[in-house]
Symmetry: C2
Amino acid sequence: MGNNFSKLDLEAMSLAIDLSKKGQTKVSPNPMVGAVIVKNFKIIASGYHREFGSDHAEVDAIKNADESLVGASIYVSLEPCNHYGKTPPCTKAILDSGITRVICAVLDPNPKAQGGLDYLRAEGIECQSGLLSKEAIEVNKVFFINQIKKRPKISVKLAQTLNGKIARKDGTSKWITGDKSRFEVHKMRSLHKAILVGNTTLIEDNPELNVRHLKGDDPIIIVIDKTAKLDRNLKIFKSKKVFYYSCIKRLDFLKNIEQITIAKNSNYTVIWKLVLQDLYSKGIDSLFVEGGKEVSSFLLKENLIDEFYLFFGMKYFASNGKDGLFLEKDKEFNLLETKALGDSLMLRGDFGCLQELLKSLEK
Amino acid sequence: MGNNFSKLDLEAMSLAIDLSKKGQTKVSPNPMVGAVIVKNFKIIASGYHREFGSDHAEVDAIKNADESLVGASIYVSLEPCNHYGKTPPCTKAILDSGITRVICAVLDPNPKAQGGLDYLRAEGIECQSGLLSKEAIEVNKVFFINQIKKRPKISVKLAQTLNGKIARKDGTSKWITGDKSRFEVHKMRSLHKAILVGNTTLIEDNPELNVRHLKGDDPIIIVIDKTAKLDRNLKIFKSKKVFYYSCIKRLDFLKNIEQITIAKNSNYTVIWKLVLQDLYSKGIDSLFVEGGKEVSSFLLKENLIDEFYLFFGMKYFASNGKDGLFLEKDKEFNLLETKALGDSLMLRGDFGCLQELLKSLEK
């Protein structure tokens, strides 16, 4: 932190972060990592973590170098690991290579893997961290949230009109946004392990919650049905990948579906905590919430929205329509991305998650 | 309409429209016009209306040509005029030049000047219109609205949070948007002849309504104060360019300010009609409304918003805050432009004005 980095430092780390993205969908549950080696003011080698079980980025880059690395610097998008996992520790490979300077974007939040920089420093290597840390965390947000918060990353989507309405007075909402937004939502579904939805939305809209407009895996559907109100004819029950959470009883008609019972009289906060713990223990690393107003407002209040996708339809509903998020207090929104989707506009941002992650990784 | 235009047609007309913009602020109350001449599939000359009283675009382009124009095509962003005004009719210059094809983006709405295409057609010239008409109208929107609606163009600005709030429950609203948005608002003020504001906003905010953050003329300030509630100490009364409209009485403390009295008991619709007529007769061609919720909602209901600037601050106010526009019915918004302004986002669009203008100019 507080280091003065040069233009070449920035360039090398940017490249390392870009390279890391090549591992997307292949390295999970490992983080995506890229590495770039610089010697005599020139980039001489690069590498990345290609798939789960393969060489880490640092080792890949070192192997890709054609010349001696004595006196070289390595840029890594995440702190080099310091433990024997599927592969030997990267710290060892770095020491063996002759590299004398290590710059990482961000420290490793995984207690098992961290400490690499301290170890290297003790061995006399010049070490720095904090270069493009925000960008590096953005790439591996699921990993960082999993490691730091011990729960799935939670993304929430909401579609509203320009005056903040999610439905008309009579409850209708078709179509706030257009085809391109629907396509984007299906893409998001395919990029999350699971979709979570409350029973109100299921009863009112009877959605399919699958990936239809593009190639992609259908996510697991997580249903929270506190009072076991759901009907057997709902479309989602045709999917085989459903986890059903309820406080009351098991639904007999759900044959092949995992039903998890939560203690009766649990309040919403407790239910969520239990559901998130259970999902995380089942390997659900990311959750896409299309839950409508109540679930989304609750998550916002509990500071559980890690990423928020706000779709604006280019229209106004009459003022007697239904409002979106309910908030007791003002909230700041950190805009991360704006995307034009035909007639609609998508804002991606958060309510402080990225800053919080950054802070917890500062040393 | 319904013509098949070639790539060269499009290119030439695009250039003509771009050139027209060079006349901005110099040709008023004339429209901005650009012209491009094509011969043997090549652009050989171009021109535009440089300032009020100078050659029209067609004549400027013809004078700029170095070769015979026999058999050439001319692309004009507005129908060539057919009357003797400050200059002889452009139709005559076109006929004299030997040009055999005239393509214009859009017909002239001015009854005095129109008919150019009909006249040329009767003289055996091949004529077409409707090429990039939307773009051409966008450039001269003030002119088209003045000519067709016989009133100033009305732009309305509103700043709101992501959940559509314009103030907190206690009435405070600082700061929904940031510095860059304020700068943009001052730029907009400088591009309009007048700002209009209602007495509620004046009493609550006591704004200066001048152009501060950049070079530009302060617009005239139009105050509607139906019940003559305003206090002499308001900042706007320090400006010498104020038109004051009231239904009740003259304010004695307003010495150098023009006061217009509207018939007592007039309803809001009547008042607005009279104010707009009076402003138009005084040469006010464009009005920037920073009137707050009531004025803006009224204008929307009466279909009097020609252009709407919606500023989104990247925050939520608590749900008990004050809503923006009041609407009895749903309204479609046509997005024309999105602009990132630091932490804020500006959407420029309309509620059908551009389509309405286009339709009224179709033949």
